[in-house]
Symmetry: C2
Amino acid sequence: MNRKFFSLPQEKQQLILNAGFHVFSRNSYRKSPMSEIADAAGISKSLLFHYFNNKKELYLFLWNTCAKITIEEMERSGAYDETDLFGSMESGMDAKLRLMRKYPDIGTFAVRAFYEKDPEVSADVRESMGQYIAVHARRKLQKLDPDDFIPGIDLEMMYREMYWASEGCLWEYIQRGEMNVDAMEDDFGKLIDFWKSVYLRRPQEEVKNERKDI
Amino acid sequence: MNRKFFSLPQEKQQLILNAGFHVFSRNSYRKSPMSEIADAAGISKSLLFHYFNNKKELYLFLWNTCAKITIEEMERSGAYDETDLFGSMESGMDAKLRLMRKYPDIGTFAVRAFYEKDPEVSADVRESMGQYIAVHARRKLQKLDPDDFIPGIDLEMMYREMYWASEGCLWEYIQRGEMNVDAMEDDFGKLIDFWKSVYLRRPQEEVKNERKDI
DNA sequence: CCATCTATTAACCGCTTCGGTCAACACCAT
DNA sequence: ATGGTGTTGACCGAAGCGGTTAATAGATGG
């Protein structure tokens, strides 16, 4: 298997992981050549096959590693512990950005692997996805207190809207190719501030508008 | 060149265009085989080469067609003529969705072609992009009247936020693979309604909160 | 200085796939 | 029959694929 891979210095491991994430995130499984991954990692194809017996093994290893470190990072950030919506959103973003700084293509890779249809790997991906989903699902829709927000707002729609906007912002960076995490962090920060300024009930309204709109 | 292609019945032309958009939107130029496109169009590879002399010619033809029909549709929808923000947004969406119903993968194709790096085509893409951009740039940031919106809102941020959210919503559909335009239309409609309900100044505030927050 | 071990690679293998060609077939109107 | 038109399967040389292997270079240790 890949015992030899683990005895590599951490930095070299990360280089290979990122090369894999990069290539597999831009092409389908079948159209992601091992040679291209080796090149991206700056090693020979033979050496890559020395670490991983075959393409499938590398792919599934990347998938499991992706799940593992994402979960770790998420839990470490305490994104699930926060009680306030924007607070948990901020620490969630923080975790995602920290992850992305280390593994720039991990997000795109995860999405692509999720939807991969090639029968050589899709079954295994689907199977080992169980736990990954299980943890992510803990991002339960938070119990939101309607009184915190401007009166009459559709909270579920607000939630979807915010999700889509961050996804769209991310997507823009991905398409551009250059993964400038600092600029992303700045944009996300502005987004959250904007949401706060718009969706949160403004103080002077607290008493005035009470119940008037229901 | 492709004189024979144009004498095809419209419906058959569209089938081939969509096959091209589909394959080229999911793989890079080099990794999009002509055979796959022919299969997707339900014709033989030989026939595809009968219509287009080579792969590059087909690709650039798709790119130019994509630009042409997008511009046409946008102008026909009158998205640029509207004066009201949400109105122009709605008709713009309408055009986009109408286009997407006819050519489901045209949007993804356009983005991918825009960022394509293969030297065999990138130069030509970049070159013929001039006019495409020129027209799209006419989507000038509309003169918005701050009095129409809730007081104190950051209008530019609002605009970016809305753009990202629609992009993110679209992205979700794309990733899922099935391009359900009806469901998309429904989602976009809800989004716009939500924005109206949240960003537009609410009637009872018009007098009450005047200038209090600046 | 030699023997041994480990990390690393170039060269190679058999097979598939690629872009593109070509000769032939089917169909239709002369 | 004749000739034009639309369409295809079979084919070509070249390139790319996943994977193997034999050999190289360098560190270690006696």
